[in-house]
Every structure is written in structure tokens, then in C-alpha cells.
């Protein structure tokens, strides 16, 4: 179970009315390498991984939900006061006719989330390499969004999220080191 803290992991401030950025951010909301996919991937893999790294998957999965909440806040702030015309200009007309300004787990191109985005092979090394790749892909996505965005406050929050992907990747790489370690093998040289 979880306890909920009624605050964001990092403050989200948006300084420009630019609903197009909301469209880009949806890649990290309901996209293949987004925060929802990350949280569900690790939350599910933790059942079938050696005990030494279950806690890591649990902790990172939990943090990804906190990131999902930050992305949701960004999208909400960027769309809540937008008129239908502004949403159309932002390329969100299709989103509007289906959802009004409600958030939905779509990627930036409007493709809805699917469980096929997340993997669980049951092989600890294969799954951790999958997780490392997922973190690098999320890091890259944040870079591409920062490249497209001129909002300094939004970019500040995105830089925080990108940094966390760097740290997550590091920890998954360490998990591989733990699982491949030979210390217990009683080697005689």
C-alpha cells in the first residue's frame, strides 16, 4: 500500500499559454516511454525478480507515479483555459472532440496507451536491460521536449525529471551488477 503526500515531487510552473506544449507532453503521459508505462513496467516486474532488487523496482515505480502527476499538472495548466479554437491551433482538435480538455493517456500523436508498451520477460537480466533502455528513452524524450519548448519555467521542471531518469538508469545498471556478482560462488584460484 501507499501513503499519499498532497504535494508534487517538484514544483510545476508554466509561464506561457502554449497548449501545443501540452500536446508534446502527452508523449510522457500516455506514450510508450512515458511515466505511466514506466510505473506499470516496474510495478509489475518486481514480483518476478530476485529479492535483492525488488525494493529498487518498488521505489522507482512509486517515483514514476509522482512524475506522472507532475506531467498531468503541466498538461492541465496548459489546457484548462484554452478555447476550442486555441486547442485546434495547437493540433488538439481531435483530442477536444473526444475528451474536451480532460486528460487522457494518449501519446503526442493521439495514440491511446496500450499494455503492449510495457515488457516483462521474467528473465531478470532481460528485464533490467529493458528498464535501462526505457530510462534512456525517457531521458531522450525530455530532451526533445526541452528542445521544442521556449518556456523557461516548464523547462526547469522538465530538467528535474530528466535528471531523475539519469539516476534511475544508474540504479538499474547497479542492479545488473548486483545480480551478476560472483561473490557468493566460492571460487578457488
Amino acid at each position: 500500500m501507499w501513503t499519499y503526500e498532497k504535494k508534487l515531487q517538484y514544483p510545476v510552473k508554466v509561464s506561457t499559454c502554449n497548449p501545443t506544449l501540452a500536446k508534446y507532453l502527452m508523449e510522457q503521459y500516455g506514450g510508450a516511454d512515458g511515466e505511466l508505462a514506466a510505473a506499470l513496467r516496474y510495478m509489475n516486474q518486481r514480483y518476478t525478480i530476485p529479492g535483492k532488487v525488488i525494493g529498487l523496482l518498488n521505489d522507482i515505480a512509486t517515483e514514476e507515479f509522482a512524475h506522472l502527476e507532475m506531467i498531468a499538472t503541466m498538461i492541465y495548466k496548459l489546457t484548462k483555459d484554452a478555447t476550442p479554437q486555441q486547442l485546434r491551433d495547437a493540433g488538439l482538435a481531435e483530442h477536444y472532440v473526444s475528451h474536451d480538455s480532460a486528460l487522457f493517456y494518449n501519446n503526442a500523436a493521439g495514440v491511446p496507451f496500450t499494455a503492449a508498451y510495457i515488457q516483462a520477460k521474467g528473465d531478470p537480466i532481460a528485464d533490467l536491460y529493458e528498464d535501462i533502455a526505457a530510462e534512456e528513452k525517457a531521458r531522450a524524450t525530455y530532451q526533445w521536449i526541452i528542445d521544442m519548448s521556449d518556456d523557461p519555467d516548464l523547462n526547469d521542471s522538465l530538467r528535474f525529471l530528466r535528471e531523475r531518469e539519469v539516476v534511475h538508469s544508474q540504479r538499474f545498471r547497479e542492479a545488473v551488477e548486483i545480480l551478476k556478482d560472483e561473490r557468493d560462488q566460492k571460487k578457488v584460484f
Binding site: 517538484y10 530532451q143 526541452i146 528542445d147 530538467r159 531523475r164 539519469v166 538508469s169 544508474q170 547497479e174
Partner: protein, 81 residues
């Protein structure tokens, strides 16, 4: 801090361009090579940020901090290789 690292956290290359490519050459393409690629298992006793700084930067460990900015924007990417 960055200059003390034995690695750089971004690299670049020039993609090929032919006279028949429709767009003018982009010049350099940049890609990140963040600290997690270089450290292996985290060594002990690494320098830390203060707790307040760590909360803002997203990591407690100075070695893992990797500021990113759009390398294609004018004026950006200056501190890169």
C-alpha cells in the same frame, strides 16, 4: 565541476550531406552521454549537494548532475565539446 569529470556528458558528430539533399546541412548533431554510462557501481564517499540543492537538482550526488539545454539554440551548447 564538469571540467573535473574524466568524461563529457555530450558528444557530437557531423552527419553526411550530399549536394542533392533537399535541406541545407544541419551541421552538428548532438547526443547525450550522461554520467550513468561511466561510473559502474557508484563508488563510496562521493561529494554531495546540500539537501536543499539536491531537491532542486534532482540528485544528491554531484557526479550524477547533468544539466541539459537545447544544443541547437543559438548560444546554447557552448560549454559542450
Amino acid at each position: 565541476m564538469k571540467s573535473q569529470q574524466p568524461f563529457t556528458s555530450a558528444k557530437s558528430y557531423v552527419p553526411p550531406h550530399s549536394p542533392f539533399d533537399p535541406c541545407p546541412p544541419i551541421g552538428r548533431k548532438y547526443y547525450s552521454t550522461p554520467p550513468n554510462l561511466y561510473l559502474g557501481f557508484q563508488p563510496s564517499d562521493l561529494p554531495q549537494f546540500s539537501p536543499a540543492d539536491a531537491l532542486r537538482k534532482g540528485t544528491l550526488w554531484k557526479v550524477f548532475y547533468d544539466y541539459y539545454d537545447n544544443p541547437y539554440r543559438k548560444g546554447a551548447g557552448k560549454s559542450r565539446d
